[in-house]
Structures are given as structure tokens and as C-alpha cells.
């Protein structure tokens, strides 16, 4: 039963990963950019929220109302100042520039906040520790349930936005072919800037939950990027519900690893990620062979 509890906790952990991953996946879907500064931006959002709670005494929920538009502006600037120019430089430049940006962000945060770990848990009252007991062994944290609910709302909302609204369709059309949409009067750069702003707004929500459910420090960005990336790869790039599934697989894998020994928490996650890659290579090999047989 303890094992079953690990599985349940893995699902909730996976919901958090899906939340961190969805903006990475969304930006990749729209611009074909893997944003290596993604984790650092999530951590930046967490620090913004922490400062608002700690200095201004705002409740974290109220701070989110301030921080989300602020981070959306950061996203808009990110696209205008860095990504736009990078995109014109070819395949490699976005990777190099966003990696440079990540180093700048991490170290500026370190310069400002030092090595201390921080958490928003003290600012959200009972929510940080309250839980419901389902059986003797299985307890579900209220915060975890909230994260899962928010992940579903964010992913579902994004999906609906992209498929049902005019703006969403514009974004998808631009993702499909940025030069052709120019012919029908759509400014691809403006669409990209909007998409980056949306991605950063979602990253802020992820940053809030990072700060509430655990501790973070200026160099936490790398780990968040890696979790987000593993989630997206396991779930399949570009598929939003796949992202939720990928997060849950990763969360469960890590919790099963931790069940064997605490040292296997991260190792198990990385191994499942590599296992998925190997399987993909092997399956695409099979597909190729099958194709050849058909062609012959």
C-alpha cells in the first residue's frame, strides 16, 4: 500500500512537471525554439513572487495577479530582444543565446539573493501541509490536488484557446508557416511576441507552485529545465495532453526510484527518459524497415 501511495504522489508530482513543461512545449510548437533559459525564467518568477510576499506582504495569490502580467512583459521583451534576432541566425543561435541568457539570469539572481534556499510555503497557511487521507496509507495533499487541477485548467485552456479562438488559430497558422501568413496580413513577429508572453505567464504559474511545494534557490533553474524537457520528450513534443501524460510518467518513475532508495529518485527519471529515447530510435528503425519492404 505504501507503494501505491508512491504511485499516487507520482501522479501529483507529474502534474507539477506538466505545468513547468507546457510553456516550453508551447514555445517549441510555435517557434521551433527550445528555450534553454526556461528553467531560469521559472525560477525568476518564483523569486518575484517571493519578494512580493516577503517585502510587500502580499498574499501569494494576490502577487500572482501582479506577477503574471509582469512576466508576460518579460516574455514580450525576451522575444523582441533575444529570440527574434536569434531566429534569423539559423538553427544553432537560439540555443546559444538562450543558454547565455540562462547563465546571466542564474548568476544575477545569485548576486541579488545569495545561496539561501527560499520557499513560499510559510505564506500560504494550511494549504502547504493540509491533506486528505483516502485510506490508511494514501494521503493526498490539498496543494497537490490544487496543482493537478490548475495543470488541467492551464493545459485545457491553452488547447481550447489554440483550437477555438481566432487568435489561437492565428498562432497555429504562424507556427505552420511564418512567411505565408505574412501574405494575409499577419505580422509573424507580433504573433511570436504574444506567444512568448503567454508562455511566460504560464511559466509564472509554474514558478508559483515551485515556490509553494518545495524550496528553490538561484541555481534551481537547470533542474526545472531538465524536468520540463524530460516531460515534453516522454509525452511527445507539441502535444499538450501528452505533456500531462509525460509529466505523470516522469513523476511516477521518480517516486518508484525513491521507493527503492532515495538516491534513485533522479536516476530513475533520467533512465525512463533515456529508455523512451532508445524506444523511439528502435521504433523508427522498425518503421523504416517496414517502409522499405512496402516499397520493394
Amino acid at each position: 500500500m505504501i507503494f501505491l501511495n508512491q504511485l499516487v504522489q507520482g501522479v501529483f508530482l507529474g502534474a507539477y512537471y506538466a505545468l513547468v513543461a507546457c510553456s516550453l512545449s508551447f514555445l517549441f510548437g510555435v517557434m521551433r525554439i527550445v528555450n534553454l533559459a526556461h528553467g531560469s525564467l521559472v525560477v525568476l518568477a518564483a523569486f518575484v513572487l517571493f519578494e512580493l510576499a516577503d517585502r510587500a506582504g502580499l498574499s501569494p495569490w494576490l502577487s500572482l495577479i501582479v506577477a503574471i502580467p509582469a512576466m508576460a512583459v518579460v516574455g514580450w521583451l525576451l522575444q523582441r530582444l533575444v529570440l527574434d534576432r536569434s531566429l534569423r541566425g539559423g538553427m544553432l543561435v537560439p540555443l546559444l543565446s538562450t543558454f547565455g541568457l540562462a547563465i546571466v539570469l542564474d548568476n544575477l539572481l545569485f548576486q541579488r539573493f545569495g545561496a539561501d534556499t527560499r520557499s513560499l510555503a510559510p505564506y500560504i497557511g494550511d494549504l502547504s501541509f493540509d491533506s486528505w487521507s483516502l485510506t490508511d496509507d494514501i494521503t493526498v495533499g490539498r496543494l497537490d490536488v490544487l496543482i493537478l487541477a490548475v495543470a488541467i485548467v492551464v493545459l485545457g485552456g491553452l488547447q481550447t484557446f489554440l483550437s477555438r479562438t481566432r487568435l489561437g488559430r492565428t498562432i497555429r497558422a504562424t507556427a505552420e508557416d511564418p512567411s505565408v501568413v505574412g501574405l494575409i496580413g499577419i505580422d509573424a513577429r507580433a504573433v511570436y511576441a504574444l506567444a512568448t508572453a503567454i508562455a511566460m505567464a504560464m511559466a509564472t504559474v509554474a514558478g508559483a507552485f515551485l515556490a509553494m511545494r518545495t524550496t528553490f534557490d538561484p541555481y534551481s533553474g537547470g533542474a526545472q529545465l531538465i524536468f520540463a524537457f524530460e516531460t515534453v520528450v516522454i509525452g511527445g513534443f507539441g502535444s499538450l495532453w501528452g505533456t500531462l501524460a509525460g509529466g505523470i510518467v516522469l513523476g511516477i518513475a521518480q517516486n518508484i526510484g525513491a521507493f527503492i532508495s532515495p538516491r534513485f529518485f533522479l536516476i530513475a527519471g533520467h533512465l525512463v527518459f533515456l529508455g523512451v529515447l532508445v524506444a523511439r530510435v528502435w521504433l523508427s528503425g522498425l518503421n523504416l524497415r517496414r517502409l522499405r519492404v512496402r516499397a520493394a
Binding site: 517549441f28 521551433r32 525554439i33 527550445v34 534553454l36 533575444v82 534576432r85 536569434s86 541566425g89 538553427m91 544553432l92 543561435v93 537560439p94 540555443l95 546559444l96 543565446s97 543558454f99 547565455g100 541568457l101 540562462a102 547563465i103 546571466v104 542564474d106 548568476n107 544575477l108 545569485f110 548576486q111 537547470g222 529545465l225 531538465i226 524537457f229 524530460e230 520528450v233 513534443f237 538516491r263 533522479l266 536516476i267 533520467h270 533512465l271 527518459f273 533515456l274 529515447l277 532508445v278 523511439r280 530510435v281 523508427s284
Partner: protein
């Protein structure tokens, strides 16, 4: 007419040979501190050149080359623990890691662009965690290259220096020959346009494999050399993503995709580190900002720009086209 060697590149090659002779007698001449710093410089040159081989020639941006750096050091520790003499163990460690890169490349090289970049970072994290499990390493506490205790400090300093110098010359020499050969043409074709290269018969995967293994082997040798000069092995210091940040800085500032650029970048990095290293965090902010700005505004790097402007090419890895009108008697 197409030229490979120009007067300038012949003169430059001679100058390099002379400089190497001077460097080879270094430990007899230089102060101990200088010898140590130059050893670090040679390691930087190796790192810059290997990252450039991967990104500048193979079109593969990796943010996980610290995997090989750390594994090289780890393998050297393990080999020397098993009784292999210290200095040969550095080379054997690099070869072993190169072998490991073969199956790893089979999986990783199917990934594209950003997927490959972060995928390699995951590999580095996994390697770090697995190395920590080794009882000899004792988690983050780490261990040292104990066998070096048997060697006196001056002898150790000189031997490490020569190993680093030798390693650098062999790796750069191998890259030079490779770039001039068939692989060089293939690799640059792939970097420019993978599909187009494949369509004219370049074996894309096989070529990438060669570059991937060379870069892994080179970074592993750099890690083993770093271990020989630092002696202590703390996994966190070796598997740090900072090494990749350094490599990217060197390559971008020097010139991505030029042979000479990363060497220039390594020298610049060495100078910047010597002058500003004490500033700690601001120094790292500066490195990141420089990488960001060069990627955005000077993508060819310092050497790449100079090369373009002055048709400069110190080492003949490419070709020069001399127009018939300006034909020199005896040229070519």
C-alpha cells in the same frame, strides 16, 4: 585557381611549430605558477576545440559535454586505483570514454537541435549521479588521485604540463587532418544543410558519429588532465554545466566553425579568467552576457570576422580561390 596553402598560412604553420618547441621546454624555464596556468590554458584549448568540432563543424549544440569531462576524470581515478600508472591512465581513460560515446551516440545523434542539446545535459546529470554511487568516490565528498602522491611536486607539475601540451597537439592535429580529409568536407556540408548533404551522398549519421566520438574523447582527456593538475575529484565540480558555459564562451567569442577561433577564444577566456576570476558571480554574469551578445550580434566570432574581412586563414583547412587575373607565377 584553388589554393590550399598560401604564403601566409605556410609562415603561420612555421611560427606554430616554433612556438611549440618553445612551449615544450617550458617547465625548465617558467616559474611553477606559470607552468600550472599554462597547463590550464592547454585544457581550455582542448575544450574549446572539441566543443567547436561538435557545434561549429557538426552542427550539434551540446550543453552536456561536462558528462565526458567528468567521466574522463572518473575513469582516470578508477584506472589508477586498479594499478595503471598515472599518466598512461589519463590517455586510457579518454579512450574508454570515447568507446562509451559510440553506443551513446547511436541514441543521442537521432535527436535534433534543442533535443540533442538538453538530452546531453540529462546524460551529464545521469553520469554524475551514477558516479556518485561508486563507493570509491563516496558521493559528493569525492576522492583524489592518490597515486600522484608518489611523484614529487616539480616532477608532477612538469609531467602534467607535457601531458596537456601533448594531448592538445595530438587532438588539434587529429582535427586538422580530419577537416582536410573527406570527413571535413562531409561535416561542413551537414552543418550547412543536413538534407542537402544527404542528397548528394554524404553519410550524415556516420560523419556525425566521428565528430561526436572525437569530441567525447577530447573532453574526457581534458577532464583527466584537469584531475592530474587539481588532484582532487569532487563530482559536482567536474560534472558542472559551467564547463559547457566556458566552452560556449570560448567558441562563440573566438569564432564558431573556424579552426583557429576556439584557440583564440581559449586564450581570451584564460586572460579574462586570470583578470576577472576573483569577481566571482559578476565574472560569470559577464561570461554569459558575452556569449549572448556574440551569439546575437557577432555570430562569426572575432576570428570568423577577421577571416572574412582579410581572407585570413592561418591553417589551411579550407581553400582559397585566386582569380586568374591576379594569377601569380608559380602560385598553386
Amino acid at each position: 585557381m584553388v589554393l590550399r596553402w598560401t604564403g601566409r598560412s605556410a609562415a603561420f604553420a612555421t611560427a606554430i611549430a616554433a612556438a611549440l618547441v618553445v612551449l615544450a621546454v617550458g617547465p625548465f624555464v617558467f616559474a611553477p605558477g606559470v607552468t600550472d596556468r599554462l597547463t590550464a590554458l592547454f585544457v581550455y584549448v582542448i575544450l574549446g576545440a572539441m566543443w567547436n568540432a561538435l557545434a561549429g563543424y557538426g552542427g550539434l549544440v551540446s550543453v552536456g559535454q561536462q558528462a565526458f569531462f567528468g567521466l574522463g576524470a572518473f575513469a582516470a581515478i578508477r584506472l589508477s586505483h586498479a594499478g595503471v600508472p598515472v599518466y598512461p591512465s589519463l590517455a586510457v581513460a579518454a579512450l574508454l570514454v570515447g568507446l562509451l560515446a559510440l553506443p551513446l551516440g547511436e541514441v543521442m545523434l537521432r535527436l535534433r537541435g534543442g533535443e540533442f542539446a538538453i538530452g546531453m545535459w540529462v546524460v551529464a546529470e545521469l553520469a554524475h549521479l551514477l558516479v556518485n554511487l561508486d563507493p570509491l568516490i563516496n558521493g559528493e565528498t569525492g576522492t583524489s588521485l592518490i597515486a600522484l602522491n608518489a611523484v614529487t611536486a616539480p616532477a608532477r607539475r612538469a609531467d602534467t604540463y607535457w601531458s596537456a601540451l601533448g594531448g592538445m597537439v595530438v587532438l588539434l592535429g587529429a582535427m586538422f587532418l580530419m577537416l582536410r580529409g573527406r570527413v571535413g568536407a562531409s561535416v561542413q556540408a551537414i552543418r550547412d544543410d543536413e538534407q542537402a548533404a544527404a542528397s548528394v551522398g554524404v553519410r550524415v549519421l556516420a560523419t556525425k558519429r566521428v565528430v561526436f566520438v572525437l569530441a567525447a574523447l577530447g573532453c574526457a582527456l581534458a577532464g583527466a588532465l584537469w584531475l592530474a593538475s587539481a588532484i582532487t575529484f569532487q563530482p559536482r565540480a567536474y560534472f558542472s554545466v559551467q564547463w559547457t558555459a566556458y566552452m560556449i564562451f570560448m567558441t562563440l567569442v573566438g569564432g564558431l566553425g573556424t579552426f583557429e577561433g576556439p584557440v583564440l577564444g581559449a586564450v581570451l577566456f584564460f586572460v579574462v579568467e586570470t583578470v576577472f576570476g576573483a569577481y566571482g558571480v559578476w565574472y560569470l554574469v559577464g561570461l554569459g552576457a558575452a556569449a549572448l551578445l556574440f551569439a546575437l550580434f557577432v555570430p562569426a566570432g572575432l576570428w570568423g570576422n577577421a577571416e572574412r574581412r582579410y581572407a585570413l586563414r592561418m591553417l589551411p583547412v579550407g581553400y582559397h580561390v585566386a582569380l586568374p587575373a591576379s594569377r601569380q607565377p608559380g602560385g598553386g
